[in-house]
Symmetry: C2
Subunit: 500 residues, 2 copies
């Protein structure tokens, strides 16, 4: 009576890939026939959220099932600042956290992460120290190229040892945008699935390519194919790759016992201008707690189990994937800590399942900026980005200006939150008048939830406060075999400066 369950979690991790980048979610360029087909064969979740408008905290939330404020992926260096894991960061994922692959191991799952890790790059923080059996990819973003004296290029790991560096062994041509990295990540994924299938082992694949993150790249075959330049080309290649993975599952006859989920780790970075993605009808983008920063494309696929072509309006988020994955694997969640995820199994398996009433919390750093409950969202703080940044041309909401909402200073509304009906007003443009009964009713429902959340919150030790040039990827494990070790400067830590 053992159910042989195989689980794939594709977290697109395609930083910069926004809600509006999927054809099925309204991208005019229609670059995603495979993802659109995935939605047609599975379930679309238009009300799906990440845990933070930035990459590292979102990924930490996915793998721990807990908000960044609990798992430590935030900063207290300043109020309400986004923080992540550049290579000068000292911190990483705390040993006190339990990660999804650690749990799945109890049921014999083989876990692999392919692509960007982003939960800390110092040795103790790496994937193989935190439950994954295999890894192919990099600990940080593929920024660069660097000159190797002031700053090393980011290493690419195969399991516990580096096999080269970006811009060196793993070429990304900044000028043409050509790189075969997504191709490599796809092959790594197909190979892993094949090996586990042959070994009849349940597996967890965390496929997290980063092609749509700046600097954007695509394989030669995809360059110039889309309607919107390099970014669209990268989307097309990722879409193609997802199609290859799904079709591989069919070929291996394991589609019916493989749960696949597609999502992204934050909204499109609108500050990237014409080289960035789209957040569809939503306000602003990455770095903000408006819908454009945190609403994500989301598709669940599980042939024979999830009804074809369905849509669920359930409010859901990446932390639910932790709890749901445990449930699918037949595991109970850890009972010694507060988890923020729901088990979505009933949503996936019964289209007619009644929606569960639950809040969505929008954090920016150490501040709870907003809360959604049902169709309503209450903003307790608003901020796009500072006037100083604006003067430098940095704008998280280009072309958008909702007076009193897209504020350029951190603006407190805790005494009288801004409230929007996201069904009628997904773009957060028309605050509901405080004089209405509707407004009062909403606050009566949301206020106790906020109060309870704050009262019971045990904030984790902030991991993203300290920076140090000495901790950068100078000499990753395996560098000596390749003669790629670099000399680190003396340690000289400082409080990282998080400007927005």
């Amino acid at each position: 009576k053992t159910i042989h369950l195989i689980l794939i979690l594709i977290l697109a991790s395609v930083k910069g890939m926004g809600w509006g980048d999927l054809g099925v979610l309204g991208q005019p360029s229609k670059e995603t026939p495979n993802l659109d087909a995935m939605a047609t064969q599975g379930m679309l979740l238009p009300n799906f959220y990440t845990a933070n408008p930035l990459c590292s905290p979102s990924r930490a939330a996915l793998l721990t099932g807990r908000l960044p404020i609990r798992n430590g992926f935030y900063t207290t260096n300043a109020h309400a600042r986004n923080a992540y894991t550049p290579q000068e960061i000292v911190g990483g994922i705390s040993k006190d956290e339990i990660l999804l692959p650690q749990m799945l191991k109890k049921k014999g799952y083989a876990s692999k992460i392919i692509g960007k890790w982003h939960l800390g790059h110092r040795p103790q923080y790496l994937p193989l120290e935190n439950g994954f059996e295999e890894w192919f990819g990099a600990p940080n973003c593929h920024f660069g190229p660097y000159d190797s004296s002031n700053r090393p290029n980011i290493p690419v790991y195969n399991n516990s040892e580096m096999v080269g560096r970006y811009y060196e062994e793993f070429v990304i041509d900044r000028k043409t945008g050509e790189s075969n990295l997504t191709e490599i990540y796809l092959m790594e994924g197909l190979d892993f699935i094949y090996r586990q299938t042959m070994a009849q082992r349940p597996f967890f694949l965390y496929w997290a390519p980063d092609a749509t993150h700046a600097p954007v790249y695509a394989s030669k075959h995809f360059l110039g194919r889309s309607q919107r330049g390099r970014y669209g080309d990268a989307v097309m290649e990722l879409d193609y790759s997802v199609g290859q993975i799904l079709s591989w599952l069919q070929t291996l006859s394991i589609a019916n016992n493989t749960f696949v989920f597609f999502t992204s780790d934050n909204g499109a970075a609108l500050m990237s201008g014409i080289n960035g993605g789209s957040n569809g009808p939503f306000l602003c983008g990455k770095e903000t707690t408006f819908e454009g920063g945190m609403r994500e494309p989301a598709i669940a696929w599980w042939p024979g189990h999830i009804k074809e072509g369905t849509v669920s309006f359930q409010l859901a988020n990446v932390m639910d994937l932790f709890t749901t994955s445990l449930s699918l694997a037949g595991l109970s969640p850890p009972d010694d800590r507060i988890l923020d995820g729901l088990d979505l199994t009933p949503v996936f398996l019964s289209y007619s399942h009644k929606l569960k009433d639950r809040p969505i919390f929008y954090y920016r750093g150490n501040e709870l900026m907003a809360v959604r409950l049902g169709q309503y969202k209450a903003h307790y703080w608003t901020w796009s980005n500072s006037v100083e940044e604006l003067k430098q041309g940095i704008n998280f909401c280009p072309g958008q200006d909702v007076p009193g909402v897209t504020t350029h200073t951190q603006t407190q509304h805790t005494l009288q939150p801004l409230v929007f009906h996201l069904g009628q007003d997904p773009g957060e443009k028309f605050p509901i008048s405080v004089l209405t009964k509707e407004y009062q009713d909403v606050l009566l429902r949301i206020s106790p939830i906020v109060e309870h959340h704050k009262r019971t919150l045990i904030a984790g030790v902030p991991q993203l406060n300290m920076c140090d040039l000495a901790v950068m990827n100078w000499a990753p494990a395996g560098c000596e075999k390749l003669d790629k070790c670099l000399k680190a400067p003396a340690s000289d830590p400082w409080k990282c400066d998080w400007s927005h």
Copy 2:
């Protein structure tokens, strides 16, 4: 060897229904499973345009195959003003124009319009005087209720005689939003299709319901069903109706020889705030020549002929439907006048058809505001709406503000047009620098097209200049039978005031 061709043209005419209102085009509320399925079974055209950011001129363009500046559906009372046919308008569709049903008659087609006509309400301008054999619907928008002394309620016609008036015999409850009008329009459509099928006659159905136009209404069964209030309810009912029509064609076994096209006549009216539709990622809405005002949802459906689930990036517009319909009916277009439509048959029948290079002209009243060619759009004039209107709370671009683009005065850029790459920047937020070679190349291609267009343009006699309370729907044909005739005031014409 005669091909028995049956043609349905569903022009949604759902004023206010924007590009982003279809599930398949990104509406988070996903209210359109039938239209989404129509796209899955047919072809989606993400680059489809109306001829004007307002209803009457767009409809005149559809039925004549000619730009409003040619067919007379514009005003010269002031520069670059939107005009339409309220019931005080004196003008209407010129007898010099040839309408689609007049052409189709030559091949024996029975033509019916169901819903809003909007090409003039005085007797000589009505549908049965202009090629249609049947009509069920109203000549003007369903504004009201009026008191019948200062202003009559809009009549509903069955063919050449009125059968009642809105808010009187045809109830629209302004408070609850309940009305069974869409239901009636659906039944009228199914009945017409049935009768022509039984009679083995080719037919042209122009199904033009107006439920999503303010004041928004829906049938009892649909009220309260959507995620976004009454507007979403109305969209759901229209979607349901389209599904019923398509399924009826299958039932009658005529789907394979029925070409169905779905589109809208202008972008969503964003000034309607939370009660309006969505233009997805596009800038501004109805009344403007930004993409939000004129890019329309568009689906072509013709089982067995149009390849399932295809997307064509061909630049196309409503005037193409005139030329294409003639082609499908085996007719040559009139050769005594300039037509603005292309024959899209090759696009529909061959997915791999090479895109035809052709411009899209964006007019506001008597001014050519912008031109699109390929991925590039050049704005020669920009205007959202006046500062005076803004002060009254009228805003065609709420929450959007692109400096120098969404201007509040009519701003001329003819010497140095604003140029956007709509593939990379569908939201028209990032003008291409005039210093680039890209900019110069674009202008070199677009300028001669604009010059040629202006040089060869023969503007029609403007039909939308004069207003007169005496011409309102006081005593439409058939009123005496119903005892519904009202007394008209003495004629006292004035130049209509078009404020935007």
